[in-house]
């Protein structure tokens, strides 16, 4: 039976520490700001240019062009380019929790605060849930918040109604509201897994960052025209991520054995 008071205490403790850690705070604040500014700047530049979009329309992969439906070539090109930025919004829910989790778990190990913590009545499930949520919630909030700002600013960039409709449509919403949180959960559990093998939070962070590779793979695959990010592909990614999350949660819990942590994590 999970005691949610203890989980809440863990989350509050993690956040209290997080807001005092400049490295973590920098990542949580800077990344959303940067990743929101980039597509806004790009759309503003494209909106003020009348020739670029049309001239490059022939560069759109045929598979993606089908996604555009009744859009004109210029709008389709904008959607194609902006769609690459969707992946930035999927990097955020991976990088932010990895940074937080790397410091919260390996950091706790490095400062020897894990032993007195494990000596309290907190169960392993409560501990992992508290630490996990403390890392996932800021990442999801930052991603959704950044996306909301992007949507609010979007009309000011000169993006057409078709482009705005596409960005506020099911592909982006499903990706940000479903795939993002699922990726955050995977990232936290992967960070716990990596933490069991490292002693330095920075090493844990860097090794855990390997989880960005699948996102980058999707990005380059879309540029190469191998895959198209649309509702079916987002749903398939969600199913895969749910399976990965279950596997990683089980692996994380299995590796987070109190005895192993106290006697072998050096």
């Amino acid at each position: 039976m999970i005691n949610f008071d203890r989980v809440r205490t863990m989350i509050q403790k993690e956040w209290a520490e997080m807001f005092k850690n400049r490295v973590v705070l920098f990542t949580v604040v800077l990344m959303p700001v940067l990743f929101t500014a980039l597509p806004i700047i790009m759309l503003s530049v494209m909106g003020s240019s009348t020739t670029t979009s049309a001239a490059s329309a022939s560069d759109i992969p045929a598979q993606f062009a089908r996604t555009c439906g009744n859009m004109n070539a210029s709008d389709c090109m904008q959607v194609y380019l902006v769609n690459e930025f969707l992946l930035l919004y999927l990097i955020m829910p991976v990088m932010i929790p990895i940074t937080i989790a790397a410091y919260s778990i390996v950091g706790e190990k490095a400062t020897h605060s894990l032993e007195p913590l494990l000596a309290t009545p907190i169960t392993t499930e409560e501990l992992l849930l508290g630490k996990g949520l403390a890392a996932v919630i800021p990442a999801v909030v930052a991603t959704i918040g950044a996306f909301a700002i992007f949507l609010i600013v979007l009309p000011l960039t000169g993006a057409s109604a078709g482009v705005r409709q596409y960005i506020a449509g099911p592909t982006w919403l499903l990706a940000i509201l479903l795939v993002g949180p699922l990726m955050s959960i995977a990232a936290v559990n992967f960070a716990i897994f990596v933490s069991s093998r490292t002693t330095d939070p920075r090493v844990a962070e860097q090794v855990s960052a390997i989880l960005i590779l699948p996102v980058l793979l999707v990005l380059f695959s879309q540029i190469a025209g191998v895959i198209t990010i649309n509702v079916p592909s987002v749903l398939i990614a969600s199913v895969v991520l749910i399976a990965a999350d279950i596997a990683l949660v089980m692996l994380g819990s299995r590796l987070f054995q109190r005895e192993t942590i106290l006697t072998r994590w050096k």
Binding site: N3, D5, R6, A16, E17, H112, P116, A119, T120, R258
Partner: protein, 310 residues
């Protein structure tokens, strides 16, 4: 309060190597309200024993019951009802002293945590520094805070691992005084320490341990067991004939002159001293003063560890 029966812990360090035994067949009984010293050299298995008794790690074989709860079966209840001071305080350096204690008070489910936190911060003279980050605290202040953390949920059994390790004499004195206070409150204290003087002052009984239990008794009984009781007679005019005279008395085990002092081995000096003094005075000795020679606990410890090695 704490009972162990053939408690054993082995670790499988490497698949190729045989398991390493850290604790081998430990059987002890610690009574309620007792301060029980657990002494041993580095790597003897003291911390492993403490971790087993606080349900931080499992038992390989044997049995341990703490505060009425069995290790391995009632781990959650054990963690809820015992307090532990780990060898390294492990505080959250970026958080304030008050926040550090408040987190633990809530994890232990303490009713009215802010009042309890205030009580202990005031008790340990840290109330004025409650909003300061613990990272700015001295080692002694951190140790005091860690002791307060172990007490927030008012445990009847306390496990203290090296409570004065690395502290300056003043801070050590302060921590020792605080432990003495806890003793008067009737709490059971299991004290792992390298500081033999501290163990001598604080403990009702001590166990000397190196993977397995070497001996357990009161510090006085251990002194007596190893060295017997010796009384020093300071005479103004010490002469060999006085030693011969004393040695001839039937209850005297040994009598020698060491540094102008007549040192006599006795079983019951309370009864035998007056007879010796009378005989010495009758023989012309001028007795200035008489006192019992006490071996330090360090002598006892070193003797036992050496015997163990040989």
């Amino acid at each position: 309060m704490i009972h162990t029966e053939r408690l054993t812990k082995t670790f499988n360090v490497n698949k190729k190597l045989a398991p390493f035994t850290a604790v081998d067949g430990l059987t002890i009984d610690v009574q309620e309200g007792e301060v029980f010293g657990f002494l041993g050299p580095n790597g003897a298995g003291k911390t492993t024993t403490m971790r087993m008794l606080t349900s931080l790690i499992g038992i390989t074989t044997g049995k341990a019951v703490v505060n009425g709860f069995e290790v391995g079966k009632d781990d959650q209840k054990i963690r809820q009802t015992v307090g532990i001071l780990t060898e390294t305080p492990g505080m959250y350096d970026r958080l304030s002293a008050e926040m550090n204690l408040s987190i633990y008070a809530r994890l232990y489910g303490v009713q009215n945590p802010s009042a309890v936190v205030e009580k202990y911060l005031r008790m340990l003279n840290l109330w004025d520094r409650r909003e300061d980050e613990v990272g700015e605290f001295s080692k002694g202040m951190r140790q005091k805070l860690a002791i307060a953390r172990a007490l927030l949920h008012e445990p009847r059994v306390l496990f203290l691992d090296e409570p004065t390790s690395g502290l300056d004499p003043e801070a050590s004195h302060l921590v020792r005084d605080f432990i003495s206070e806890l003793k008067t409150e009737g709490r059971t204290i299991f004290l792992c320490t390298h500081n033999l003087d501290e163990a001598d002052r604080l403990c009702d009984r001590i166990a000397i341990f190196k993977t397995h239990l070497i001996t357990v008794d009161t510090p006085e009984a251990l002194r007596k067991l190893l060295f017997g009781r010796r009384v020093a007679f300071h005479l103004k005019n010490v002469r060999d004939q006085f030693a011969v005279l004393v040695r001839s008395m039937p209850f005297v085990k040994d009598a020698r002159i060491i540094d102008d002092t007549l040192v006599v081995g006795l079983d019951h000096p309370e009864d035998e001293n007056p007879q010796i003094i009378r005989s010495l005075v009758e023989a012309g000795a001028e007795v200035q003063f008489v006192g019992e020679l006490r071996h330090s606990l360090e002598d006892v410890y070193l003797q036992l560890i050496q015997e163990q090695r040989s």
